[in-house]
């Protein structure tokens, strides 16, 4: 079991390392701290070509990598990997594929004007193209104790069953309690005219009953005037991780993260793991089922 950690020598990278440690400790995974450095094109028209910068950058990357590895506690095996790639997302995906990693962990916080834009970009392009689940560490995530509970948010679209299946199997493997939550946004004053709540509950009940009897599974429905409010209304454990599925739009090369997941990301302060829609769930016999176990 190997996780790729998208490491940058800043707070966000620190967030990612902490979350990776917390996840790895639950499952005994090894960490690859991956530093992506841009591939320089000779066609960039840089004048004068200054190879001195490359050697200074090399030293700096090495120093950063040492700092990053120092953040990982002794009991979690970790190594550093420096990757040249055109973009951060591409480098992380490549590293995950090359090492057959089962999860990519990145920091997803946003600070300041310029950073905010970019984080969106890195996270978005990663979520857009990643073949494996992506774990997003919230801002200032410093917890390194093993995670304590897994929550799976279920929408009412096709594909939700896949996410539930992934959640069930990974919670079981980790020996974690699992909570299935249906998020229902209701307009204030309207009393559920379309029976959304009924529908949500029915779906969750079905999912829960489909599970092996041995699992510790609870079912909740969260409502509020908006998705954000519904999330805020839920009680969260400190060591909790939220699992969501990707949007169906992913197949059309659009935004991979559904609008609901996006809203969750903006509201939540707990880590979130986004499972690709095409991700092989346990028991399926599609291509890739062997290489990528559903161990998010």
């Amino acid at each position: 079991m190997r996780y790729v950690v998208g490491y940058t020598a800043d707070e966000r990278g620190h967030d990612a390392v902490c979350l990776a440690v917390a996840l790895a400790r639950r499952q005994g995974a090894d960490l690859d701290l991956v530093l992506v450095t841009p591939e320089r094109s000779p066609y960039a028209g840089t004048y004068l070509p200054d190879k001195g910068f490359e050697s200074l950058l090399t030293d700096q990357l090495q120093e950063w990598m040492d700092q990053g590895l120092a953040l990982v506690p002794e009991d979690v095996p970790a190594r550093g990997v420096i990757v040249r790639a055109e973009s951060n997302a591409e480098g992380l995906i490549q590293a995950a594929e090359d090492t057959e990693a089962s999860l990519i962990v990145i920091g997803a916080s946003s600070r300041g004007l310029t950073n905010r834009f970019n984080i969106g970009n890195v996270a978005r392009s990663l979520l857009h193209a990643s073949p494996v689940p992506v774990a997003l560490a919230p801002k200032s995530y410093r917890r390194t104790d093993p995670i304590t509970r897994m929550t799976c948010a279920v929408g009412n679209r096709a594909g939700a069953d896949d996410v539930v299946a992934v959640a069930v199997s990974s919670a079981q493997r980790r020996g974690l309690p699992l909570r299935l939550v249906s998020l229902v946004a209701l307009d204030a004053g309207h009393s559920d005219p379309e029976g959304m709540e009924d529908e949500a509950n029915r779906r969750l009940a079905e999912a829960a009953s489909a599970l092996a009897a041995g699992g510790r599974v609870s079912v909740e429905t969260a409502h509020g005037p908006s998705i954000e409010k519904a999330i805020e209304a839920l009680a969260w454990d400190e060591g909790e991780v939220l699992l969501v599925g990707s949007s169906r739009l992913a197949q059309h090369m659009r935004i991979f993260l559904g609008s609901t997941a996006n809203k969750i990301l903006r509201t939540l302060t707990i880590p979130m793991i986004v499972v690709p829609r095409t991700y092989a769930t346990p028991g399926t016999t599609g291509p890739g089922a062997q290489t990528h176990e559903a161990d998010a």
């Binding site: 000779p42 028209g45 050697s55 950063w64 040492d66 040249r84 490549q94």
Partner: protein, 506 residues
């Protein structure tokens, strides 16, 4: 894409830089031409050079290449002897010690900062010109003459380019091919159209081409000659990028040299053709479209593209705009990296040595370069009526200064091996010595002349020529900053960081 694994304790980054062997001869020439940016260079430098040397423009364009070539040989030698240690700043520090090294680095930074402000200004001129042409409304083109609008737009351009460079975004191969091809086509179009006007008798001031135009000795005075040469150094600036390429090319033995030679041929043909076309179409008189009219000299294509190319003049606007915008963005890398190296080696406060964890580019240094370029532009625009012209002349001066230092650093660094082989005599001794001396002579001559308030565009401040203030002023500013930093942190100046040294005897 390459992956290098490092262990928990030890480590080693992939030594592999660029993917080996991706650039062929054509690619290398495209890179060379793109670094020269001929459309931008011609519009910026043709006028000021005509102002100095008149119809001997073609002669000066040819002569100006010689010192450039000689220095480039020295540059290549230093680059291959100390491949991992930066450019002028580190080389000059190794050869001559910290003081000269610091000033060499400052000269490079100043030259690139000045060219940044000029690139942005030219881009802005042609941006409004293009908008005016698109909407058929000359009033829009004149917006660039409105001082607040001009300054604000230029600052926006500088900020954008800084941001792109900070983000580490680069021009791709395909874009570079398109930009270069487009520039060459448009410049050829301009030249042919001008010759056709002359043949049809519709030229503004048809002037027959004469063999005398190619005679550098026909230039009126040594002052004019020196000024012309220092301007022509600027027009070839960028060409030598091809010589420093090696592992990027498919054939490191032959490609760089061949590409360098071919790039020169392409550039010289473009320059001579456009120079001849301009002179024969417009003459060097001071008439409405004359190349001798000071109003036209700041940006020759802005004036002549319309009359010469008719409705297709918009292509020239696009060519100059794209060429200067692309260079603006890529040129940011250069001062930023030298500032970073100086910060790293304690020749500047250590903030300058910071690398962005996110983008792996110089962070503080890139922003500092942008602030300097913006400040330089605002200052020049406010105190000079001919800001573009004066900056180009000051730029020529600055390039002569730091190239001269680089060339002599080569001679001094390799002094123990200078006569150990015929090759060394030529490339490590004679060429850089001659090139360096020529450039420094041009530098001192032009610097002295430029004190005259009537020099160049005729702008002045307190009775001193504007070019002197911009060129020598910036160098003196560097000297003052160097002394201040020496008082604050003398480590670099005590050679605690970089030791003076020389190449061992072979």
């Amino acid at each position: 894409m390459s992956i290098e694994k490092t262990t928990q304790k030890g480590s080693g980054l992939s030594k592999k830089g660029l993917d080996a062997g991706t650039v062929g001869l054509l690619g290398a020439v495209v890179i060379g031409v793109s670094c020269v940016a001929p459309a931008y260079t011609l519009t910026a430098a043709l006028g000021p050079t005509v102002a100095e040397v008149g119809v001997q423009l073609p002669a000066i364009f040819l002569v100006g290449f010689i010192p450039m070539l000689l220095v480039a040989f020295g540059y290549r030698e230093l680059n291959s002897a100390m491949p991992d240690s930066g450019t002028t700043f580190t080389w000059a520090t190794r050869a001559f010690g910290p003081w000269v090294g610091w000033m060499g680095g400052w000269g490079l930074i100043a030259a690139t900062v000045i060219v940044l402000s000029n690139l942005a200004a030219v881009a802005v001129d042609f941006f409004y010109l293009m908008l005016g042409q698109i909407f058929g409304n000359p009033a829009i083109a004149d917006l660039t003459l409105n001082l607040p609008v001009n300054i604000a737009t230029t600052l926006v351009f500088i900020t954008l380019a800084c941001y792109i460079s900070y983000r580490g975004m680069e021009t791709t191969k395909a874009v570079q091919y398109v930009l270069v091809t487009f520039q060459i086509i448009v410049l050829a179009w301009f030249a042919i159209a001008a010759f056709v006007h002359v043949a049809n008798g519709t030229a503004f001031d048809a002037t027959p081409i004469s063999a005398d135009w190619f005679n550098p000795f026909a230039v009126g005075s040594f002052s004019a000659f020196a000024a012309g040469v220092s301007l022509s150094i600027f027009i070839y600036w960028g060409w030598d990028v091809t010589l420093t390429m090696s592992e990027e090319t498919r054939n490191p033995e032959k490609t760089p040299g061949r590409a360098g030679a071919l790039t020169v041929v392409v550039i010289v043909v473009i320059y001579l053709t456009v120079a001849l076309a301009t002179l024969t179409f417009a003459g060097v008189g001071e008439g409405e479209l004359g190349a001798g009219n000071p109003d036209n000299q700041e940006s020759i294509f802005a004036t002549l593209a319309g009359p010469v190319m008719g409705p297709f003049a918009i292509l020239m606007s696009i060519a100059v705009l794209s060429s200067s915008a692309a260079s603006l963005q890529s040129t940011f890398v250069s001062p930023a990296r030298t500032l970073l190296a100086m910060g790293h080696y304690k020749a500047l406060p250590k903030d300058y040595g910071r690398i962005s964890p996110q983008y792996k580019s110089p962070s503080y240094a890139t922003i500092a370069a942008a602030v300097a370029a913006a400040g330089f532009y605002v200052f020049t625009r406010l105190v000079s009526e001919n800001a573009l012209w004066d900056t180009i002349t000051a730029l020529g001066l600055m390039i002569c200064f730091y190239y001269g230092i680089t060339a002599l650093a080569c001679v001094w660094y390799f002094r123990a091996q200078a006569f150990s082989s015929a090759r060394n005599i030529l490339f490590r001794f004679l060429s850089p010595l001659l090139g360096g001396v020529i450039l420094l002579v041009m530098f001192f001559k032009t610097a002295t002349d430029s004190m005259d308030p009537a020099y160049g565009s005729g702008s002045e401040l307190f009775g001193i020529g504007m070019v002197f203030i911009l060129g020598v002023g910036v160098i003196l500013l560097g000297a003052v900053l160097m002394l201040i930093w020496w008082r604050i942190n003398p480590a670099f100046f005590r050679q605690e960081v970089i030791l003076k040294g020389s190449a061992p005897k072979e």
